[in-house]
Every structure is written in structure tokens, then in C-alpha cells.
């Protein structure tokens, strides 16, 4: 009884303190200079270049990791191989590793002194690499439970009726896991647009070339232009939100319970 009454109230208070209030604070800061100042902050050439780069890289990484995440999740669910449990545990490491350490490590492995001769430092590929690293757990973990639950009898039935494995994948498997893949892609995208620590070292941070939005925002905050920093942040949050809502709408077409 107590839980039923106090539960929602506590949850809403917690959510407000933790998420809504800070977002509202950024929002009010963004509008503190008026609409004109907000527009000039988000339309400044550096901001436009950084936003474009960030959104393109984030979209690319979300799409790529959806496929890579599916392959890895499939391997973890359907295949038996030695060390499977270890691989399963490794997937979450990008979450645990401090992003600045991730950035340094990626720079030493895929920078000018790369032991494999792969140098992507100071290029958009470096940004893609860092974003792919930090967002991989989202892509794997969102499809994995669905694959576990997936009814294998339907696949076997399709096969016994003469469907090739490609057809089975397209007609039976993909429709079931597509909503989960989309959800994973949405989370990966939202994480990628705001990522700072892992990206900023390997990107080279060159304005107009490899400077991501979070780094431009950081520059603005360091230059004491907090309202411009908040304005660009709000635009990023709005875009991430629009993408997540859009994905929610698409998921509906798959008749998925929205609360999941």
C-alpha cells in the first residue's frame, strides 16, 4: 500500500531532480540571451561545422554498430565456443573504462605510433573509431535478450518449408529483432552525440575539420560564454530526443509494447 502511494511520487521526484531540473536549467541558460543570441550561437560557422560532423559520425556509428552488435550478440547467443563467458563480460568494458583512458589507448594503438600501422588520429575516422568503441555495448545488449527469447521453431519451420537461410533471416529473424536493433541504435546515437572524453584526443580537435560539438561546447564554456554553450547543448539534446521519439514511432509499426 505504502509503496503504491509513495512509489510514483518518489520516482517522479527523483527523475525531476536528476534529469528534468538540470535539463530545465540548461534550457533557461540557453534562452537567457534571447532568441537572437540563441540563433547566433547555433548558426555560428564553428558550431554548424561541429554539429554537422557530430551528427554524421553519430549516425554512421549507430548504423554500423547495429549490424556489428547483431553479429556479436548472435555469436554470444547461438554459438558455443571456448571463452564465451569471457567475451560476454568484455562487451561491457567500454562502459567501465574511463573515456579519457579509452581516448589515450585508442590514440596509442591507432595514432602515428600505431603498432599495426593504422593511423586515424586527426581524421573523422578517429572520431568514428572512438564512438564505435563507446557505443558498442548498447548495440549488443539491446538485441541479445531478444535473440535469447526468439522462437527457434519458427526458423526451423521456415527451413523445413524450404526457405533459404537468407530468406529465414529476412522474413523471420529480422522482423522480430528489428525493434530491439532500432532501440540500440537510438541509444548509441544519443550517447555518441554527447561524447567528449574518448573522442577529443584522437580527433585532433581541429576547428571546422575534426572538432566535435561537445568539444566546441566545452570551448564556449571555457571562454565564459555559458549561454552559447547551453544553446548548442540544447540543440544536441533536441536532435537526440527527436531521433529517440522517431525510433519509438517506427517501433510502434512493429506492434511493440512502447514501455519496453
Amino acid at each position: 500500500m505504502l509503496v503504491r502511494i509513495a512509489g510514483p511520487g518518489l520516482a517522479i521526484t527523483y527523475l525531476s531532480l536528476l534529469v528534468l531540473l538540470p535539463i530545465a536549467a540548461v534550457l533557461s541558460k540557453a534562452f537567457s540571451g534571447g532568441l537572437g543570441a540563441l540563433w547566433s550561437a547555433v548558426s555560428q560557422p564553428e558550431a554548424v561545422a561541429a554539429l554537422k560532423l557530430t551528427l554524421l559520425c553519430s549516425l554512421g556509428v549507430a548504423a554500423f554498430n547495429s549490424v556489428a552488435g547483431l553479429v556479436i550478440a548472435w555469436m554470444l547467443v547461438r554459438d558455443e565456443f571456448p571463452g564465451k563467458r569471457i567475451v560476454g563480460a568484455i562487451i561491457d568494458l567500454p562502459f567501465a573504462l574511463p573515456t579519457v583512458v579509452a581516448g589515450l589507448t585508442l590514440l596509442s594503438l591507432y595514432g602515428p605510433d600505431s603498432p599495426f600501422g593504422v593511423d586515424v588520429a586527426g581524421t573523422p575516422f578517429g572520431i568514428l573509431l572512438a564512438l564505435a568503441f563507446v557505443t558498442l555495448p548498447f548495440s549488443v545488449r539491446s538485441v541479445q535478450p531478444v535473440l535469447v527469447e526468439l522462437d527457434r521453431e519458427a526458423e526451423e519451420a521456415a527451413a523445413s518449408l524450404g526457405a533459404t537461410s537468407a530468406v529465414t533471416l529476412r522474413r523471420i529473424v529480422l522482423p522480430s529483432i528489428a525493434p530491439a536493433m532500432l532501440a540500440g541504435a537510438g541509444l548509441a546515437f544519443a550517447r555518441a552525440v554527447g561524447e567528449f572524453g574518448s573522442v577529443v584526443l584522437i580527433s585532433g580537435n581541429l576547428p571546422f575539420k575534426t572538432q566535435v560539438a561537445s568539444s566546441w561546447i566545452f570551448s564556449l564554456s571555457q571562454s565564459d560564454d555559458l549561454s552559447a554553450a547551453a544553446a548548442v547543448s540544447i540543440l544536441l539534446v533536441a536532435i537526440a530526443l527527436a531521433v529517440l521519439v522517431g525510433i519509438g514511432l517506427v517501433r510502434r509499426r512493429f506492434n511493440v509494447d512502447e514501455s519496453i
Binding site: 541558460k29 560557422p45 586527426g122 584526443l201 581541429l206 566545452f218
Partner: protein
């Protein structure tokens, strides 16, 4: 470092506009302060961290410093100043450049007379140096060498790093010192930024980037370069013929919870004994008699930020992120790369 930076930026941003959250650090600060534990909260920029380890242990062995505990926070200068303005408790603040101290003056946290002391409010000096690969394979000797074909430079992003501002003002002032006009000096800055292979977000990120193998020359604080060399990094340090004298300010904020111990610590840092330790750590002492005991390289021409109009003017003219000279240069370079 970067993770701390982003964390405290978020904190600053959240605190800035939300009153209930503002009260939290203040309440937390009230706890340890009321207990007479002799705790001093030191808030400083990143580079002097190793020096402070030596200085605090030396201070603790003096009569005034016996039993004084320190809580230490290090991070990019601008971030640290913003954090203190937004409620981070501080008994001693040490920044990389005066404008960050002035943020605290503006917020009413530090007296406007902070720069009135015998050392002008400064605790250490340094210069902008060239860091090159060991043995200087590209024969970098002068500012002109940095903009030769095939030479790439690492200097932090001037909008996020105080160190980068020192670097670019050193470059600009060096041109004037060679008899060039202001227009020629600005043209030199354009050339220099064109040769920038990376503009990392902070001085420490810039050093990491250079040590990872990128770039031929890193513009850096002399003390930071000396530290990297002591750590065994394969670098050589070149003193430019003309460079700027870096001056790092220190103060005890008005709302310090332990002002007596804080002032005693600052006096120690400015004493002969304290300045000797700074010197050994690669900083140029602010006391002439201590500085004379060290043999730091002497550039032909060493100039002050005041000779370029002082930080207030320089910040406005050069480093405004929308209208500053540097913003215009970056925009020009950005436009030329996207159209060509």
C-alpha cells in the same frame, strides 16, 4: 583529465542556473570546515600538481604548516575558476593566467587588490617554449621555422585552454619584437594555425597528442616541458629567441574556511624556501634572488602580456569566440578548406 573537465563543466552548468542544487556544495563544505581540523582546500590548474606534492610536504615540516591537511583539486585553469565561482570550496586558488583570477574578483570571491602584493599576486613564472623530438631533427630554432613547409605544430585550442592563449600571444608578441607590424603579426598567427596538426582541448591533452607521435613542434609551458623531460620522454626543449613571460596568479579567497592556514601556506610558497622548490620543479621563481640561483635559458627578448595591452584587452580582441581575431582566423581557414 578530460573526464574531470567534462564532469566539472556539467557541474558548473547545472549549478549556474538551479538554486536548490547550488546549496548542496555549500552544505557539504560546512561540515569539515567547522571542525578545527586545519584543512586547506587547494584549487589549482593542472600543471603544478607534482610541484605541489613536494611543496606541501615541505610546508608540513615547517612550524606554521605542522598538522595542516590539504584537499587538492587540479584541472584546467578556466574550469577550476568556474567551479569556484559556482561554489567549489577553496582556501587557496592558483590559476594559469590572471583572467581566471578576475572571474573570482567579478564574483566577489577575491579582493580586487589581489595583484597588489610584492610579486604582483604571482606565485610562479615560466615561458612559452618549443618542444621538439629528441635531437631536434627538423632544426627548429625560431618562430619562422614553425611555419616552414612540412612542419606541423601542436598547440591547444585557444578557446578552451589558457595555455594556448599564452602560446599565441607569445607568437604574436615575438613578431612585434622582431619589428613586424600588427598586421604582419596577425598574418603570422594565420600561418601558424594553418600549420596546426591538432588543437587539443587542454595543455595536458596537447602533450599527450605530441607524445603519441603527432606534430613536429609542441608549444608548451617551459615547466611542463621540463617535467615531461624529467619523466624520461624523448623530447628536446628549445627556447625561442623571443617569447612571453608567463605569470601564474595565486590568492586566498574571501570566503576561505581556513584563512590562517591558507595564508601561511601562500607565504611559504612565496618564501625563499618555497621558491627554491618551485625552481627545482621547473618553474622560474618570482623572487629575483632565488631566480639567480637557477640557470634558466635567457631568451634574447622576453616580454610581458602587459606590453600587448594586458589580458582584459587581449582576451576581448583576440579570444572572443565569436568576434576575436583568432575566431576570424579559424573561420577563414575553415572556409578555405570546405570550399577547396
Amino acid at each position: 583529465m578530460a573526464i574531470y573537465k567534462s564532469a566539472s563543466w556539467t557541474r558548473a552548468r547545472l549549478l549556474a542556473a538551479s538554486v536548490p542544487l547550488l546549496a548542496i556544495p555549500t552544505l557539504l563544505a560546512a561540515g569539515p570546515a567547522s571542525a578545527a581540523s586545519g584543512n586547506v582546500a587547494l584549487v589549482a590548474y593542472s600543471t603544478p600538481k607534482p610541484a605541489y606534492a613536494a611543496l606541501i610536504s615541505a610546508f608540513n615540516s615547517t612550524a606554521a604548516g605542522k598538522g595542516v591537511n590539504f584537499s587538492q583539486s587540479f584541472g584546467p585553469s578556466g574550469t577550476q575558476a568556474t567551479a569556484v565561482v559556482n561554489g567549489l570550496p577553496a582556501d587557496v586558488v592558483n590559476f594559469s593566467l590572471a583572467p581566471d583570477m578576475n572571474k573570482l574578483v567579478k564574483a566577489g570571491l577575491v579582493s580586487a587588490s589581489w595583484s597588489q602584493g610584492s610579486t604582483g599576486g604571482m606565485v610562479t613564472n615560466s615561458i612559452v617554449s618549443f618542444v621538439v623530438r629528441k635531437g631536434n631533427p627538423k632544426h627548429i630554432k625560431s618562430w619562422a621555422d614553425l611555419v616552414k613547409p612540412g612542419v606541423s605544430v601542436i598547440t591547444p585550442n585557444p578557446f578552451s585552454s589558457g595555455s594556448a592563449k599564452w602560446n599565441l600571444m607569445a607568437a604574436y608578441g615575438a613578431q612585434l619584437a622582431q619589428g613586424k607590424s600588427k598586421a604582419q603579426a596577425t598574418a603570422y598567427l594565420t600561418q601558424l594555425l594553418k600549420h596546426a596538426a591538432a588543437q587539443p582541448s587542454s595543455a595536458s591533452n596537447a602533450l599527450q597528442t605530441f607524445l603519441s607521435g603527432q606534430g613536429d613542434v609542441l608549444l608548451d609551458y617551459e615547466d611542463d616541458a621540463l617535467y615531461a623531460q624529467r619523466q624520461g620522454e624523448p623530447i628536446s626543449i628549445i627556447t625561442p629567441p623571443q617569447t612571453i613571460l608567463i605569470q601564474n596568479p595565486i590568492a586566498v579567497p574571501k570566503n576561505a574556511t581556513n584563512p590562517a592556514a591558507a595564508k601561511a601556506f601562500v607565504s611559504f610558497l612565496l618564501s625563499t624556501a618555497g621558491q627554491k622548490i618551485w625552481g627545482k620543479q621547473g618553474y622560474r621563481p618570482v623572487l629575483a634572488k632565488v631566480a639567480a640561483q637557477f640557470s634558466f635559458p635567457k631568451p634574447q627578448k622576453l616580454f610581458l602580456i602587459s606590453s600587448l595591452g594586458g589580458w582584459t584587452k587581449v582576451n576581448k580582441v583576440f579570444f572572443d569566440p565569436q568576434t576575436g581575431v583568432i575566431a576570424k582566423i579559424e573561420q577563414g581557414l575553415g572556409a578555405s578548406t570546405s570550399s577547396g
